[in-house]
């Protein structure tokens, strides 16, 4: 499974039936210094496209959207304690939450890295 990307600048990494979600390198760069994250509720089921969290820099706030239907199984408490992880390591230590997908095929329509790199140049 390769990492997939949304047009809202989230990345999704599906491993062993659990999808880990974060914001992209491009997104954190556009936001600037991240100072606060609001994370979804563990155990709650979200629909694709629902607002699952908020990421705030000193100058702006941006919503984080649920990229697929599913139940949130875990949130990154380290990120809550140190929001700057979203800047320094957005694709690894700065992950936001994990989801157990209701329908993993929803990922099929998302961009791969090559497509996202092209997309993010213009967005």
């Amino acid at each position: 499974m390769t990492v997939k990307y949304t047009q809202e600048h989230e990345w999704i990494d599906l491993q062993g039936g659990v999808a880990t979600v974060g914001i992209t390198l491009h997104a954190q760069d556009a936001l600037g210094d991240v100072v606060f994250v609001d994370l979804p509720e563990v155990g709650r089921t979200y629909a694709k496209g629902e607002v699952a969290g908020v990421v705030e820099s000193v100058k702006a706030a941006a919503d984080v959207y649920m990229p697929l239907d599913g139940e949130v199984t875990e949130v990154n408490e380290a990120l809550r304690a140190d929001p700057s992880l979203a800047n320094s390591d957005p694709m690894k230590a700065g992950w936001f939450f994990k989801v157990k997908p209701a329908n993993a095929s929803q990922l099929d329509g998302l961009m791969d890295e090559t497509a996202y790199t092209e997309f993010s140049k213009n967005n």
Partner: protein, 374 residues
């Protein structure tokens, strides 16, 4: 507005060279931040010195023997009594006593030097021309460069290039030269720190900025940190915290209106909206709301337009500026609240994404001012 419609300042090429992230601001393409990032730039200014391009602001001269008296008819401020090379904060008012713009003025002896906000400068110029253009010559200098060097080490950097500036004290100015170019420098700024604002000819602005950036104390700073610095310093941003819907007393800018222009003063009134402003000042017509500072008790930034409620869930105000203050390391905000809820220590709830974030009314500035008063 497309990027090509934006105006540029004399430092545009330098901003691009330094990696500035350019955004539209007041009709100009301006750097919101440099590669160091907003928080590093904010700290740089609080700890050493930061260089800001504020050339988008409007510089103008009011010339002629009647200029000070004429300008007093537009602002609720003592202009006639302002000593030579002394600087003062002022407000242009509507006939309803609300704020058209805020500004800085200096008595330069043979003229009054005025700096207004970039987004307002064309309107301000038209208003000043129309109201007092027959009494003094109004000369816009909108193409000049204006640099601000702010921070505790700003004086060390500037005095190396322009000896003598260290003798200025807060809110005074003087004419200097640098490599044959005339500068007018005031010891002032908008960050709460010691610092200087330097007016320089457009064709020398980049060279002077480079000379400042060559000093070990100095780094370039964008509009993002300018905003977080001014908010921590408790200073209003025109368009957010003050505008044509707010009066000076509602905005808690009473300190900007000297006794001589108030009820009972030697030159009381005589400015637009004076009846209303003076009645609010002397308490005969108390204001219903007031600008206050707030600190959040949880680590959630509270942005402009956020509703403030009392413990019973009634709306008692609205935030006009808010962010996580990088120095104080807590969310800070300015807001207008009903006067009954304006006392320091009052607890209110900010409604952020449907959730109540507790906040407390706090005195401003949020960080101590460090102006050089001599």
């Amino acid at each position: 507005m497309s990027a090509t419609d934006l105006k540029t300042t004399p430092l545009h090429a330098l901003h691009l060279e330094l990696g500035g992230r350019m955004v539209p601001f007041a009709g100009y393409s301006m750097p919101v931040q440099f590669p160091a990032g907003l928080i590093a730039e904010h700290r740089q200014t609080r700890e050493a010195a930061g260089l800001f391009d504020v050339s988008h602001m409007g510089q103008l001269r009011l010339e002629g023997p009647d200029a000070a008296a004429a300008f007093e008819t537009l602002v609720p401020v003592d202009v006639i009594g302002l000593g030579v090379d002394k600087q003062r904060y002022g407000l242009l008012l509507t006939d309803e006593g609300t704020i058209v713009d805020d500004l800085m003025m200096v008595n330069r002896g043979d003229h009054l030097f005025v700096i207004v906000n970039g987004a307002c400068k064309d309107g301000d110029l038209a208003l000043i021309q129309q109201r007092i253009g027959s009494r003094c010559k109004v000369v816009p200098m909108f193409d000049r460069g204006l640099l601000a060097l702010q921070g505790p080490k700003a004086v060390d950097a500037v005095k190396r290039l322009v000896p003598g500036v260290e003798q200025l004290v807060f809110m005074t100015g003087g004419a200097f030269t640098w490599e044959g170019s005339d500068l007018y420098i005031t010891r002032s700024g908008y960050t709460g720190e010691d610092g200087f604002e330097i007016s320089v000819a457009a064709d020398r602005a980049e060279a002077f900025a480079r000379a400042l950036l060559d000093q070990p104390e100095v780094k370039p700073i964008g509009l993002g940190a300018r905003n977080s610095l001014r908010l921590e310093a408790g200073l209003c941003l025109y368009g957010n915290d003050i505008d044509t819907t707010t009066t000076p007393v509602e905005a808690a800018l009473n300190w900007a209106m000297q006794k001589v222009r108030r009820t009972g003063g030697a030159r009381a009134g005589g400015f637009p909206g004076a009846d209303k402003v003076l009645a609010q000042l002397d308490g005969t017509q108390p204001v219903a709301r007031k600008r206050v500072g707030l600190i959040a008790l949880e680590r959630v930034p509270v942005r402009e337009h956020t509703e403030l409620q009392d413990a019973d869930g009634r709306k008692v105000g609205e935030v006009t500026s808010g962010l996580l203050g990088p120095t104080i390391d807590k969310p800070v905000a300015m807001a207008y609240v009903d006067v009954a809820h304006a006392a320091p220590g009052t607890r209110l709830n900010a409604i952020v994404r449907g959730k109540a974030v507790p906040m407390e009314i706090a005195p401003m500035p949020f960080v101590p001012q460090r102006y050089h008063r001599g």
